[in-house]
């Protein structure tokens, strides 16, 4: 056995051979042979196998082995796979089978398995040999064999060949080698950096359900049919909607009332049987039990709104992937469902799975994402508007009061806007212990328990044009760590906030990716004790391609004001710029630690 140890990777996929063979309509077999060398602990996850089965997919065969450096071999049997249910509550018929090798490094693990599809499939399994960071790929090969009558759409960053043999079309891909992704911070989505093949049949049958997905419009139409079978509120629900909305003057107030009802009466529970992976639980079931998954709750809300005379559209999206390929309609790329309510001036993007999300707020899993609005043959892909770095703002006001000795009192007034506010949406719902922990995490110095915590928001103003959610927090905390003596002088940290950028490692092999732009402004005010002089660090302005930082101080009427502002611009930047970005991040971290000297 030869172990080819690369310096920068923790694991290497030595070979990955997969075949998806469609035997007849609705019946197929997916066979994989993969061999992975795991060199060190950080590469362990590359050696783990995870297989999913449900009423449509069965694990027909499985075997594997681990080869140790001395040539000894340990067999892995099907019975060694550990089964567990994929959803929190274990509701449904899906099951995940997994095996994690326990062996000293380095070792080589091989798996061979076949998954059979007996009752149809909507998508060909995605071919993405590299699934984990710090994993290189030596070579991978993928074959899809389909009856000539089956038209296949393809999305891949690798070239393919097509041949026809005995009434079947054979599509083949060779990926070649890839060094994978090993960066920890500001890493582009892994699926954009590694070889992939997505393939879909233009027509599909999934259990008794038949549909088409030549383009997004057709896929949306297929979904429309699937979803409509779950429509239909029971009569008591309809009359309830009537009662709830009878005093409402306009659609906005009806939306608010029904959204509040959804919040109070339902909760998220994932239960999926059969087609349940794509078809929502029936509205009647949601109404009676008070729970459902994202599909069920969105569809239930759609029906509630319809009963109040408000039109809304169910849509699906990927919470990971911002861009959906315009010319490749594919249901398996989506992992979430929500609701869109067209209004005169804008569209409301409603999160029904967690109705504590304020109305009018496009949360981080949907803002800037492409989504498929489901509306029969009028279904279409649209992009949800994201927030700019100026809108995703955090503005912190710290008033430092030097009390006796070396203790300071810090009065904090913090404002969070748009995606910066997301973490604080349910702040008031949390226990005081959790609130204190969250607030302590905002400091870069040790403080006592935060006191006199109060929180306000503007969530009730959701209906106004250009609404941006904002949470404001006020509290105070004492600290003994902000100040220390240097001879007779006192040194005070000018910014008590925690570091806004991580300590970046020296090596880099991918581009720099900032998914969401943001700005953070820390304004610290400090009253100079009577009869004392204060020496402040010099002002500074830093610029790089990815953003800017400024630190400015000012003394006026015995009060020092230090303003530090960091802006990070969304985008993907070439890795050649990493050195300057790292230096920028290091300077920002150090600037946050600067001190003023009180003489």
């Amino acid at each position: 056995m030869i172990l080819h140890i690369l310096a920068i990777v923790s694991a290497e996929i030595l070979s990955y051979q997969a075949t998806f063979d469609v035997k007849s309509p609705g019946k197929a077999e997916y066979t994989v042979h993969e061999t992975v060398a795991v060199y060190e602990n950080a590469g362990e996850s590359a050696g783990v196998i995870v297989l999913m089965t449900d009423s449509f997919r069965k694990l027909k065969s499985f075997s594997g082995e681990i080869t140790f450096p001395n040539g000894n071999v340990k067999k892995i049997r099907k019975s060694d796979l550990e089964p567990f249910a994929p959803y929190g509550l274990d509701g449904g018929d899906a099951c995940i089978h997994t095996y994690k090798p326990a062996a000293p490094y380095p070792y080589i693990v091989s798996y061979s398995y076949t998954i059979s599809y007996g009752k149809g499939f909507m998508s060909v399994p995605a071919f993405t040999p590299i699934r984990t960071t710090c994993t290189a790929l030596r070579d991978a090969h993928f074959d899809i064999s389909v009856p000539v009558s089956m038209k296949l759409k393809i999305l891949s960053n690798c070239k393919h060949t097509k041949t026809s043999v005995k009434g079947k079309d054979l599509y083949s891909w060779d990926t070649g080698s890839s060094e994978g992704v090993s960066d920890r911070y500001f890493t582009p989505p892994i699926e954009e950096l590694v070889p992939y093949v997505y393939a879909e049949a233009e027509e599909f049958s999934y259990g008794k359900f038949k549909g088409r997905q030549k383009d997004w419009s057709e896929l949306g139409d297929s979904f429309s049919k699937l979803i409509s079978s779950s429509d239909g509120l029971p009569e008591d629900a309809k009359s309830l909607v009537g009662r709830l909305t009878r005093d409402c003057q306009d659609d906005d107030s009806k939306i608010e009332v029904l959204y509040r009802y959804l919040r109070e009466k339902t909760r998220y529970v994932s239960i999926q049987f059969g087609l349940g992976g794509y078809r929502p639980l029936h509205c009647k079931e949601v109404h009676n039990t008070g729970f459902g998954d994202c599909k069920a709750l969105s569809n239930y809300m759609k029906n509630l709104l319809a009963a109040a005379g408000i039109r809304s559209q169910y849509f699906i999206l990927s919470t990971d992937r911002r861009r959906m390929p315009a010319d490749f309609a594919c249901a398996s790329l989506a992992d979430h469902a929500m609701l869109a309510i067209p209004r005169q001036s804008d569209t409301l993007w409603m999160e029904c799975t967690n109705p504590s999300v304020p109305l009018g707020y496009r949360h981080s899993d949907v803002a800037g994402h492409d989504v498929l609005l489901i509306d029969g043959m009028d279904s279409r892909l649209v992009k949800v508007k994201g927030y700019t770095e100026e809108e995703n703002a955090e503005i912190n006001h710290y008033m430092i009061e030097i009390s006796s000795g070396d203790e300071v009192q810090i009065y904090c007034h913090r404002q969070f806007f748009a995606e910066e506010a997301q973490e604080y949406i349910e702040f008031t719902q949390k226990s005081s212990h959790t609130q204190e922990r969250i607030l302590a995490g905002g400091f870069g110095i040790n403080t006592d328990k935060a006191q006199d915590i109060s929180s306000t928001d503007n969530f009730s103003e959701w209906a106004s044009c250009g609404f941006i959610p904002c949470v404001e927090l006020d509290y105070k905390a004492k600290s003994r760590s902000a100040i220390h003596y240097q001879g007779k002088n006192r040194m005070i940290r000018i910014n008590p906030a925690c570091a806004h950028l991580p300590l970046l490692p020296s090596d880099r092999n991918s581009d720099i990716y900032i998914g969401t732009g943001r700005s953070v402004t820390d304004i610290t005010r400090l009253t100079v004790p009577a009869g004392k002089q204060i020496k402040l660090p010099a002002d500074m302005h830093l610029e790089c391609e990815m953003g800017s930082f400024s630190s400015e101080s000012d003394v006026h009427d015995g009060t020092v004001t230090v303003t530090q502002k960091l802006i990070l611009k969304a985008g993907t930047y070439k890795k050649q710029s990493y050195g300057s970005f790292r230096s920028f991040a290091q300077s920002v971290r150090q600037a946050q630690n600067l001190v003023a000297v009180v003489k």
């Binding site: 923790s10 060199y39 060190e40 602990n41 950080a42 140790f68 000894n72 340990k74 550990e82 089964p83 567990f84 249910a85 929190g88 274990d90 509701g91 449904g92 099951c95 326990a102 062996a103 000293p104 109070e264 009466k265 909760r267 529970v269 009676n288 039990t289 008070g290 729970f291 504590s356 719902q429 949390k430 226990s431 212990h433 204190e436 302590a440 110095i445 040790n446 006592d448 328990k449 003994r480 760590s481 220390h484 240097q486 001879g487 002088n489 040194m491 300590l503 490692p505 020296s506 020496k535 402040l536 660090p537 010099a538 290091q586 971290r589 150090q590 630690n593 600067l594 001190v595 000297v597």
Partner: protein, 657 residues
């Protein structure tokens, strides 16, 4: 007749002090106040509260069916806030393995809401009860209540039946939400006798009752006496995790029942299950793993060569023997209590911790040393109650090696980062049990087996561009070497390992080389080059002479706590730093000399900074000897941590001449 005799013997043996016949009813009627409750006054932040919890374990005997165990659980949950709706899902586990199998007799959930001044009752449909595999031996059972909203009260109830009546899992009174009232009832026939233990910081109220019933035919007139232990706790706080705590579970209120002895119905004489530590030693001595210590080593040829090397002392020979075995059989990453197959491990070239330690044990005994297992209670499982013997007290075993001169060493041969007397921090237990191959067993304290020290020699140089370079030579010994080696094992890179080590003071690691991190060795040394920037204010340079902050005050964010404080191991830190004053500068200020102490941890730290010609020298020492402190001492420890934090940010100030 036999049973009659049995009852007589049992009554004579296990008579209880004060028992009562009148038992209180455990029925807890749902009240209007509970339904209307908007917040829990004792904890207004609680998202949900357990209004009532009843857990009963009944060991039943009937002549026709023998002995069985019924485990019944009822929890009444009140949902107080949106976030509390998570408590409308309820999960428990049942055993499936042979001899332990539990049958699920029923599991239900009923939701109660007030609707138009009427009580609405929504039973859970059976289709919302889910059973899924959890492990080889356990199944996860989950259920979700229907019609739940803020204000709902939910009754969850289930019952498991098992023939494995001799084992009762520990029962916890406390949850991660507040509990208003919690009752645990354990009932068992008088012919059984149990070791009982309770834990947590609250005293559990115990009442005992006796119930009698006639079993068999009336003509036989046999009486079965059953003891009922009824334990209650009220107004329990929600339990949450805290830092510096290895085993939070032991601070939760709980009861533990271990079967001590019983008289099998229809038989004469007592069957002792566990009676004394000697009995437990006996069980361990009969286990195959223990016997393998006495077997001849399969590597005897190599061991003979080691023994023949006269220039080696005993310690070196022991180290060589461990290295020899580890070169033949590598640790496969798996851990077990005592289960292993030594010959399979040799064939494979890899084995679990049991197999490796057994192989080393037999090797050392073959060489003429005395090597035996030491049963260790891992710290994350809590401490051993030495007054309550139980085989379940231990989770792993390590090795005790004695030389002819009477020197003693301890080792876990499976640890890649370990060495003689260097164990994993979880293994450093104060009550481990040595089971010698001959002679009496003994308790041993594994804390303080070696000196755990990190020493830094740092030379700093100020560059004309205002940056600061530092060259650090660091040595790690004892448990400190375990930590650095373990970190390297996770990072697999010298620079990344040192980046994770040099934290807190914004130094960047430019290069690093660490010796002995990838090998089974007693210490590690590192050479490290670091870079930082100097702050300049008003023409003065502020230089922090610490390349890392050894203690982070943010690690103790809470002002109060309820778990005791536990540090990984006793430790000593020596830090020496020298800075050459650049030409054209003079000293305007030096860090103050300080001495801070913390009696609760037997800890102290000194820092002293002086100018010597054109050099500034800083010397810092820190040590703590105790690794455990009562939670009452937490304010003192937190204050000490804060003081330490300030030492690491004190600056040397230079000004232009």
């Amino acid at each position: 007749m036999k049973t009659g005799k049995l009852i007589l013997i049992v009554t004579g043996l296990f008579l209880f002090g004060t028992v009562s016949f009148a038992q209180p009813s455990e029925e807890h009627t749902l009240t209007y106040d509970e339904l209307m409750m908007k917040e829990y006054p004792a904890d207004p932040d609680a998202v949900a509260v357990c209004l009532y919890s009843l857990e009963t374990v009944s060991i039943n005997y009937s002549p026709g069916y023998g002995v069985n165990k019924i485990h019944h659980v009822k929890k009444r949950i009140k949902i107080l806030k949106e976030e509390g709706k998570d408590y409308a899902n309820f999960v428990f586990y049942r055993r499936l393995d042979y001899g332990w199998r539990e049958n699920l007799r029923y599991a239900t959930a009923i939701t109660y809401n007030i609707k138009n001044y009427n009580l609405e009752e929504i039973p859970m449909s059976p289709k919302y009860l889910f059973q899924s595999p959890y492990s080889d031996s356990r199944e996860k059972v989950s259920m979700t209540a229907e019609g739940v909203e803020v204000g709902s009260v939910i009754d969850f109830e289930y019952e498991l039946e098992s023939n494995n009546w001799a084992h009762i899992d520990d029962i916890y009174f406390q949850m991660d939400i507040p509990v208003v009232k919690s009752i645990v009832r354990i009932s068992y026939p008088r012919f059984t006798n149990w070791n009982k233990k309770q834990g947590g910081y609250r005293t559990i109220k115990l009442d005992q009752y006796l119930s009698t019933e006639t079993i068999g035919t009336a003509a036989e007139g046999r009486i079965l006496e059953t003891i009922i232990d009824r334990m209650t706790l009220e107004n329990l706080e929600a339990f949450h995790q805290e830092s510096f705590c290895y085993c939070p579970n032991i601070f939760k209120s709980y009861v533990s029942y271990d079967l001590k002895e019983y008289i099998a119905p229809g038989q004469d004489g007592i069957t002792k299950v566990q009676q004394s530590w000697d009995d437990i030693d006996g069980i361990i001595r009969h286990d195959p793993f223990y016997r393998s210590f006495k077997a001849k080593s399969p590597f005897s040829k190599q061991l003979q060569i080691i023994m023949s090397q006269e220039d080696l002392g005993d310690r070196e020979k022991i180290e060589a023997a461990i290295k020899t075995v580890r070169s033949k059989v590598k640790w496969n990453g798996e851990n077990n209590y005592v289960r292993g197959n030594v010959s399979k491990a040799i064939k494979k070239g890899s084995g679990n911790n049991v197999e490796l330690n057994c192989l080393v044990g037999s090797a050392l005994n073959t060489m003429g040393y005395k090597c035996c297992p030491v049963m260790v209670p891992l710290r994350n499982f809590g401490q051993v109650a030495t007054f309550q013997p139980s085989i379940n007290s231990f989770q792993v075993f390590i090795l005790c090696i004695e030389t002819p001169k009477g020197e003693r060493y301890f080792a876990d041969a499976s640890l890649d980062a370990g060495w003689l007397n260097i164990l994993a921090p979880e293994e450093i237990a104060s009550n481990a049990r040595i089971i010698p191959l001959s002679g009496k067993s003994e308790w041993i304290d594994l804390v303080g087996l070696c000196t755990n020290q990190q020493s830094y020699m740092v030379g700093m140089k100020l560059n004309p561009d205002g940056s600061l370079d530092a060259d650090a030579a660091i040595s790690f010994s004892g448990e400190c070497s375990y930590d650095i080696k373990n970190r390297y094992y996770l990072e697999s890179d010298h620079v990344k390992t040192m980046e994770k080590t040099m934290t807190g003071n914004n130094w960047e690691v430019s290069s690093a080389a660490i010796e002995n991190v990838g090998t089974y060795s007693p210490a590690a040394n590192a050479q490290c080059r670091l870079k930082s920037k100097v702050q300049e204010i008003d023409g003065k340079l502020y230089i922090i002479p610490f390349v890392k902050a050894f203690h982070n005050p943010l690690d103790m964010p809470d002002r109060e706590r309820w778990c005791n404080i536990e540090l990984p191991y006793p430790e000593q830190i020596n830090y020496n730093c020298s800075l050459t004053i650049p030409e054209g500068y003079r000293v305007a200020g030096l860090p103050k000399a300080k001495h801070v102490i913390c009696p609760a941890l037997a800890a102290e730290a000194w820092v002293d900074c002086t100018q010597n010609g054109d050099s500034i020298l800083l010397h810092f020492t820190y040590s703590h000897k105790a690794i455990k402190a009562n939670r009452d001492h937490y304010p003192q420890i937190r204050y000490f941590w804060e003081n330490l934090g300030m030492i690491y940010t004190d600056a040397i100030v230079l000004e232009r001449i």
